[in-house]
């Protein structure tokens, strides 16, 4: 009983905080997107969730090349909370003598903390003549950055608000793994001690596991629609997941294709164990060999350390526990329903 309440509480917590906590301020766009060296240029920066008027007078804007080379705007004016005007005197050359280079934009003020837009501005050399290294690059290094206090989620370009899907899409795979592991475990127990209830439990866990797999696929496709431009882009993980679901659909077909229930239960248990053993390489080994659009692809199919910050962890871990408990709760209901079905079937 207590774990069902815990599940509900954790999921309420996940939905409330997951949906309501705002994103940290960030930079949406910088225009114009390119300029020539030795020019004076005025950039209009539009921010997201930003409070530029509150930081008036204390806002600093940089265009940075790397850790050491950066140019500071000499005039910054807030047009509104989300519009900022920054005037730069662009230096005479590029730090490493290139002809063109893409700079990152950093905005910093006490109200919003620091926001970064990578690859915001393209700087081109105005002539082909070689120039001396311009010391302006080192005159105002990026330092004394403000940190925004408060409970907010990271602002990331490309995914923006969809970062909240982390609490719904990612836990589905954890739950899927736990439920299918439980299913395989009950199949092993059935083979050691053939009682029909173990077989019916194994099948119920596989059913809810399949449901969570479908939900994971659907939430993933929704996310992909926003982040990658289309719902299905034949990413290796989308394919292997679809195949994993096919394996379990085959399991249900196998279950229903025997006349004798005992024989069907035994052979399906064997296939279930075998299927779980192929599921692990399918979901965790094969995707590492191919290029993927997923974060942390090629190498680790899961999250990298920097993808999850502490505020997100505070919701992400409870979300996993909440969804897992919900998965087991749903399965226990399914097992009871099956038991009733069996009893009714026996009366006929």
């Amino acid at each position: 009983m207590w774990w069902k309440i815990t599940s509900v509480l954790l999921l309420v917590y996940t939905f409330t905080l997951g949906m309501l906590v705002p994103l940290r301020p960030g930079i949406l766009t910088v225009s114009p997107e390119s300029g020539l060296t030795r020019q004076s240029t005025v950039l209009t920066i539009s921010g997201y969730n930003a409070h530029f008027t509150q930081g008036e007078g204390q806002t600093r804007v940089w265009l940075t090349y790397d850790d050491e080379n950066a140019i500071l705007a000499h005039r910054v004016k807030a047009l509104s909370d989300t519009q900022l005007e920054a005037e730069f005197q662009l230096p005479a050359n590029l730090p490493k003598g290139e002809a063109t280079m893409v700079l990152n934009c950093i905005v910093d003020n006490p109200a919003d903390g620091t926001s970064v837009l990578p690859n915001a501005f393209q700087l081109k050399l105005d002539s082909t003549t070689m120039q001396e290294y311009d010391p302006t690059w080192k005159a105002h290094p990026v330092e004394k950055l403000n940190v925004k206090k408060g409970f907010t989620y990271p602002y990331r370009n490309v995914i923006y608000e969809t970062i909240r899907n982390t609490y719904f899409h990612v836990p589905m795979w954890f739950v899927l793994l736990f439920l299918l592991l439980a299913s395989a475990t009950y199949s092993v127990i059935y083979l050691l001690n053939p009682k029909p209830e173990y077989d019916s439990k194994a099948s119920a866990y596989a059913e809810t596991g399949l449901l969570f797999g479908l939900l994971g696929l659907v939430t993933g496709m929704l996310w992909a629609h926003y982040a990658w431009g289309k719902a299905w882009s034949n990413d290796i993980k989308q394919i292997t997941t679809a195949v994993a679901l096919l394996i379990y659909m085959a399991y249900f077909i196998l279950r229903s294709s025997f006349d004798e229930p005992e024989k069907g239960a035994r052979l399906s248990a064997v296939y279930n164990i075998f299927a779980f053993a192929t599921l692990i390489p399918l979901l965790y080994v094969v995707p590492r060999m191919f290029a993927s659009l997923h974060p942390g692809a090629t190498g680790s199919p899961a999250f990298g350390g920097q993808d999850l910050d502490n505020t997100m962890r505070a919701v992400f871990y409870p979300a996993i526990i909440g969804w897992t408990l919900l998965g087991f709760w749903m399965t226990s209901l399914r097992i009871r329903a099956k038991r009733i079905e069996d009893k009714l079937g026996g009366l006929d």
């Binding site: 394996i247 294709s257 025997f258 035994r266 064997v270 075998f274 053993a277 390489p281 094969v286």
Partner: protein, 218 residues
């Protein structure tokens, strides 16, 4: 004793194949027809497509070659084996026999396919290794699914739906390795993929041995 049983059973598999020559000739003809259908459907084949089509041919031919291993022998004969032999030994002979059969078939398929569609292979030792590992992986998986499917009602359909999804990890790895042998992709650290493949094969083989007695018992 076990060794003798093993030898006898393996000998029996070859003898059976030799006596029912229509089965092996059927598979050989299946390879030829499949190769020609694929060739007619796509006359000019670039190496990446060559690779995909080759493994598709191999997939279908292997399933058809292995599916008979449990269906062809009658129930009473199965009962006889059950009394005289250990299921693990029986399964081992089937897997070894099917691996050899698939090796021969893959050599045959490679030969005919390269005659009609050209031969883009650069790295022959690697390609041969891929064929060997492929035959072994296909043999383990398909022998296992054939043993389950043989017990069910519509075994032909069931064989396909049970086998296709679980062969995918092996098939994707094989296609990647064979792409490396064809120099479609450059990768010098493909040893890791071979180890992955061997690991998958080892896990499946172990599970097959552990689980087969439960399939076998009727």
């Amino acid at each position: 004793m076990k060794w003798l049983v093993f030898k006898t059973l393996l000998h029996k598999e070859f003898l059976l194949e030799f006596r029912q020559r229509y089965a092996i000739s059927g598979i050989v003809l299946y390879v030829f027809s499949m190769v020609f259908v694929v060739y007619i459907a796509s006359v000019r084949v670039q190496p990446p497509v060559w690779n995909i089509l080759f493994w598709l041919i191999m997939l279908f031919v292997s399933i058809n070659a292995v599916v008979k291993s449990f269906v062809q022998e009658s129930g009473s004969r199965q009962l006889y084996y059950y009394q005289v032999a250990n299921p693990v030994v029986l399964l081992l002979t089937k897997i070894i026999y099917n691996t050899l059969l698939l090796l021969v078939i893959s050599a045959l398929a490679f030969g005919t396919y390269s005659i009609v569609a050209g031969n883009p292979v650069f790295d022959y030792p690697l390609f041969a290794l891929v064929l060997l590992l492929g035959s072994f992986g296909f043999s383990i998986t398909f022998t296992f699914t054939a043993s389950i499917a043989a017990k069910a009602n519509n075994s032909a359909t069931l064989m396909a739906i049970l086998s296709f999804p679980i062969i995918i990890p092996i098939l994707l790895t094989l296609m990647r390795l064979s792409n490396i042998a064809l120099r479609v992709i450059q990768d010098t650290s493909y040893q890791r993929d071979i180890i992955n493949l061997l690991a998958i094969d080892a896990i499946l083989l172990t599970l097959t041995f552990v689980l087969f007695p439960y399939i076998w018992r009727d």
